[in-house]
Symmetry: C2
Subunit: 260 residues, 2 copies
C-alpha cells in the first residue's frame, strides 16, 4: 500500500488532509509544493490536479483531488478509527460543517490571510507567472494588497466570526466535546486549520474571549497527537512571525469591523 501526498506546509486544505491521515496513523510519501513559486501550476502537477490546487492524494495509483473529497475517501478506504459518526443524522450534521468550509470558510480565509499577511510573500517576478496561470490573479492581488481596506475583507472576517459563533452554538447546544457530539469527526478535522489560522493571525483569542466552549474545543484539538504531527510539525517558521506582526497591526481595524 502506497500513499503519496502533494501538499504544502501551511495550506489549510493540506493541513486538513494531513490531520485526517495522522488520525488514521497512515504514513505517506511527502511531495511538498512551493505555492509562492507557483509549483501547483507546473504542467506535471496539472496532469494530476487539473485545477492546480493542493492537496492531491495518490493511493496505489488512484488520484483524489479536493480536500473534502480526500478526507471522505480516507475515511472510506481506511475505516478505523472512524472519522464519521455511525448514524445518518450524525453524518448529516458533520457534512453541514464540511459543506460550509468549502462554500464559505475556505474563500473567506483566503481573503483574510492574503490581505493581512501573505500578499507580502509574492515577489514581483512571480506576479506575471501567476497571472498567466490564473487570469485575473493580478487584479485580485491588487485588492489583497489593500489589507483590511480590500473590499472583500469585511464580509470575509465576519464569515470567520460566524464560523466561531456556529461552533459555539453547536458545542453549547449538545454539551459534548466535539462539533457533532461525542464522536470526533471530519467536522473537527475540517475546522481545525481555520481556527488555527485565526490563532496565527492573533485574532483568535480576542474572537473567542466570550466563546468558552470553542476555546475548550481548541485546547482539546491542540492536545491531540495527530494535530501535533499534521499541523504543528509543518508550521513554517518564516510565516508565523509575519502573521503575528501583521495581524496585531490589523487588529484594531478588524475589531471595528466585527463590532459594526
Amino acid at each position: 500500500m502506497a500513499l503519496t501526498l502533494y501538499h504544502n506546509d501551511m495550506s489549510v486544505c493540506a493541513q486538513k488532509v494531513r490531520l485526517a491521515l495522522a488520525e488514521k496513523g497512515l504514513d505517506y510519501e511527502s511531495k511538498h509544493l512551493n505555492l509562492r513559486a507557483g509549483d501547483q501550476k507546473h504542467p506535471d502537477y496539472l496532469k494530476l490536479n487539473p485545477n492546480g490546487y493542493v492537496p492531491t492524494l495518490v493511493h496505489d495509483g488512484f488520484v483524489v483531488c479536493e480536500s473534502t473529497v480526500i478526507c471522505e475517501y480516507i475515511d472510506d478506504a481506511f475505516p478505523n478509527p472512524p472519522l464519521k459518526p455511525a448514524d445518518a443524522r450524525g453524518k448529516a450534521r458533520m457534512r453541514g460543517f464540511t459543506k460550509f468550509i468549502d462554500a464559505a470558510i475556505f474563500p473567506a480565509t483566503g481573503v483574510v490571510s492574503m490581505s493581512i499577511a501573505f500578499h507580502h510573500q509574492y515577489a514581483p517576478e512571480v506576479h506575471a507567472k501567476m497571472e498567466a496561470a490564473r487570469p485575473g490573479w493580478l487584479a485580485n492581488f491588487r485588492n489583497l494588497q489593500k489589507g483590511t481596506e480590500n473590499p472583500a475583507f469585511p464580509n470575509s472576517i465576519k464569515r470567520l466570526d460566524k464560523m466561531l459563533a456556529d461552533m459555539e452554538a453547536a458545542l453549547s447546544g449538545h454539551g459534548k466535546p466535539w462539533l457533532v457530539g461525542d464522536a470526533y469527526s471530519l467536522a473537527d478535522v475540517g475546522n481545525a486549520p481555520y481556527v488555527t489560522r485565526l490563532d496565527h493571525l492573533k485574532f483568535l483569542d480576542r474572537m473567542i474571549a466570550k466563546r468558552p466552549k470553542t476555546a475548550a474545543w481548541y485546547e482539546r484539538m491542540k492536545a491531540r497527537p495527530a494535530y501535533q504531527d499534521a499541523l504543528v510539525e509543518w508550521f513554517n517558521p518564516t510565516y508565523l512571525p509575519l502573521m503575528e506582526e501583521k495581524g496585531n497591526e490589523a487588529w484594531p481595524k478588524v475589531q471595528a469591523l466585527l463590532a459594526a
Copy 2:
C-alpha cells in the same frame, strides 16, 4: 416515518433532492415555495434554513439543509436501493462530481438561467424585498438583465460546457452507462437537473452534438421513472416557453462565446 420537503418546482437543487427521494421510492409532504415572491426569506422558513435557500428536508423532526448534504443523508438514512458505489474509489469519483456541482456548476447555472430567462420574472415590486433580504441583490440583478452581456456570463456558459466535456470524458473513459461506472449514483442524480436546464434553454442539443456518450446518458436518465416523477411532473408550464424563446434568441451569442 414522516418526510417533509420545502422546495420549488424548477429549482435545480430541489430537483436533485426530489430525484434522490423518488429513486428511493419515498413519499413526502410537499411544501412548495414561490421563490419569485421571496417565500424563502420568510422568517418562519429562515428558522429552518437560516440561509434562506431551497430545499430543506425534515425527517421525523430532524432538519437537513443544503442539497448535496440532503442527498447524502437520504442515502445514509434509506440505504436501498443504494445511490453511492459500494467501494471507496467509486465514492470518491462520485464526490468528485458532486463537489464541482456545488463549487462551480450551480453558480454558473444561476448566472446563465437568470441572465437568459428568469430575470424577466421578477416584478419591480419584489426588487426591494429581495435587496432587503440579500444586500447586493439589486446590483447583481442589473447585471443579469444584461443577458449574454452580463460580465459573468462568458465564464459561466463555458463552465457548463466543461461540465458536459467532463461527463463525456468520464463516460468514454470507462464505457459504462453512468457517470462513475455501472452504479447509478448521486453523481447522476446531481448532474441531471443541470443538463435538463441546458435542454430547457435549447442549448443542450447544440452543445452535445459531438458528445454522443452524454447524449445517450441523458436519454437513459429521462427514461427513469424517478426522473418523470421528480422533474417532469414538476416542470412549470409558464417557465418552459420563456426559457425556450429567450434561449433560442441568445444561442448565436452563446455559440460565439463557446467557439472563442
